[in-house]
């Protein structure tokens, strides 16, 4: 059952990723990306990490992709020539097959070799919020802080580059 679900989620994720890239309309691409994220959440759930799975839905599929869609819709950039033209269906395999082949090859060969490192039984409480919190604020505290600073920089940068001094009509 788990193996089946894994392959199902994996296939859904690859499909989502593929459609994200292939689709010509940015909005439809984004919707497929959401699909891929939800499939990824499924894989996390199968890995006994329910917290991460829900986080994946909440943060990526929920918040971040909403912002993506929001920006795409609001900007509505000009439709480029290449965007209007559809890729010839005959070209699809040419684009899709090489990466897929590598993916499948790597996947199966890794699967063949077994995953010795991961067959150890999971400790009790694995993947619970408490566990995640202890890792995040314990062992990986430095990484956690590094992310927070990097995100702070991203915010400052976005403000510095993107801000526009504009008088609002009611001010």
């Amino acid at each position: 059952m788990e193996t089946f679900l894994f392959w199902f989620c994996g296939a859904a994720m690859v499909l989502g990723g593929l459609m994200t890239v292939v689709q010509r309309s940015a909005v439809v691409s984004a919707v497929w990306l959401i699909f891929a994220f939800v499939a990824a959440a499924g894989i996390f759930a199968l890995l006994h990490a329910p917290f991460v799975a829900i986080l994946q839905v909440l943060v990526y599929a929920g918040a971040i992709m909403v912002l993506f869609l929001f920006v795409i819709m609001m900007l509505q950039g000009p439709v480029l020539e290449g965007e209007r033209r559809r890729m010839k269906p005959a070209l699809w395999p040419a684009v899709a097959i090489p990466p897929l082949a590598v993916l499948v090859l790597v996947g199966t060969r890794i699967a063949d070799h077994g995953t010795a490192a991961f067959t150890t039984p999971l400790p009790a409480g694995f993947g619970s919020p408490t566990h995640v919190a202890e890792l995040l604020l314990g062992r990986y505290l430095l990484a956690f802080e590094l992310i927070s600073i990097a995100l702070l920089v991203a915010i400052i940068g976005a403000l510095a580059i993107g801000k526009e001094e504009r008088k609002l009509p009611w001010k």
Binding site: V27, V31, P50, L58, L67
Partner: protein
């Protein structure tokens, strides 16, 4: 729930997987029926509450008593309407959007603990799960607005998304003190922790939780896109917002989901702060748990409607200001304050 599993496994002779699937199907159907009922009851209730607050009668004719059948008639009318898909719409997304909105609400409903042991999906991360899947609603709304290819719809969707994404933060932050007290994200555990009369409800546990409740309430109004935060569907400027182009069944989905979400946030408020299925005073113990829960939920819905029909609509910038500069800091202060209070009162382990 346990009894249901036992019934299907032993009496009906199904395997474990079979029992799970059957119970899930039954619960899903049940939820859907309750959701539909909600929409019916609440449309009628909304009109009556609005009328009451505006000193008029509201629907009085359909069905004898207080025009109760008006909601049914409306629903039949909506379902009988022609299903129109605009020629310039993005068809796939246009069709998919209402489903996604409904799916988001329905999934979130699954983790509501109606009574001890009676919850469709008893998840350890229940509360977290509710917040996560209800974010699907936002995506559905955005898709609807985009796919309609209509500027009112797009503006409505953009406003809705901005508003809901922003208010999700104070909403979740306001719930954190409760989770700290309970030490669990399981919705049942949260309710169980409030056993023992009204003074054990989390809203009265400490002043910070009291403030948290109101933060949650305000954020929940914004989350459901209702007045005074109903910019996504302001009829005076945006026709009907993101569902302008929708008719018939698809419109009904949005409609259904709106009232389902209204009840959902009210029930979450009840389970987080108002003691879930526990009766406020010992004398009311005789009521069934689920009934107590639903009554409290309906009272919260009434409060919501009261606010909607009393306060004027806020402006978009006021809305954002309120969220980012008032409510989020306040919610953070409440979180820290509640933590300190717990330490001081020895409640922290």
């Amino acid at each position: 729930m346990e009894a249901m599993y036992a019934f299907f496994m032993d009496k009906a002779g199904m395997g474990q997987a079979g029992a799970h699937v059957t119970v899930a199907a039954i619960m899903a159907t049940l939820m859907f029926i309750v959701m539909a009922l909600c929409a019916l009851v609440f449309t009628w209730m909304e009109r009556k509450v609005a009328a009451f607050l505006q000193s008029r009668w509201g629907p009085m004719r359909t069905g004898r008593w207080q025009g109760w059948a008006q909601a049914v008639a409306d629903m039949l009318k909506i379902l009988g309407k022609e299903d129109i898909i605009p020629a310039e719409a993005d068809k796939a997304l246009f069709i998919f959007a209402p489903l996604l909105v409904l799916l988001g609400s329905l999934l979130a409903w699954a983790a509501i603990p109606w009574a001890p042991g009676f919850v469709a999906a008893d998840l350890d991360l229940g509360l977290f799960y509710i917040f996560a899947v209800s974010s699907m609603v936002i995506i559905g709304i955005l898709m609807a607005g985009w796919a309609s290819n209509n500027k009112w719809a797009l503006y409505g969707a953009a406003r809705g998304a901005a508003q809901m994404v922003s208010y999700e933060i104070p909403l979740a932050l306001a719930a954190i003190p409760v989770v700290m007290y309970t030490g669990s994200l399981n919705t049942q555990d949260i309710v169980i922790a409030q056993q023992g009369g009204i003074w054990n409800w989390f809203i009265f546990r400490n002043p910070f939780l009291f403030v948290s409740f109101f933060l949650y309430f305000v954020a929940s109004i914004a989350e459901t896109n209702r007045g005074p935060f109903d910019m996504p569907e302001t009829e005076s400027e945006l026709v009907a917002g993101y569902h302008t182009e929708y008719t018939g069944m698809r419109f009904a989905f949005f409609f259904l989901s709106e009232y389902a979400n209204l009840f959902l946030v009210s029930m979450i408020a009840v389970l987080l702060f108002l003691g879930g299925w526990w009766a406020p005073i010992p004398g009311l113990d005789f009521l069934p748990a689920a009934l107590t829960f639903v009554i409290k939920g309906v009272l919260m819905v009434f409060l919501n409607m009261w606010v909607r029909w009393t306060l004027p609509r806020v402006r978009v910038d006021q809305l954002m200001h309120l969220c980012w500069k008032v409510m989020i800091p306040a919610a953070l202060i409440c979180t820290v304050g509640a933590g300190l209070w717990m330490m001081a009162s020895g409640a922290a382990g």
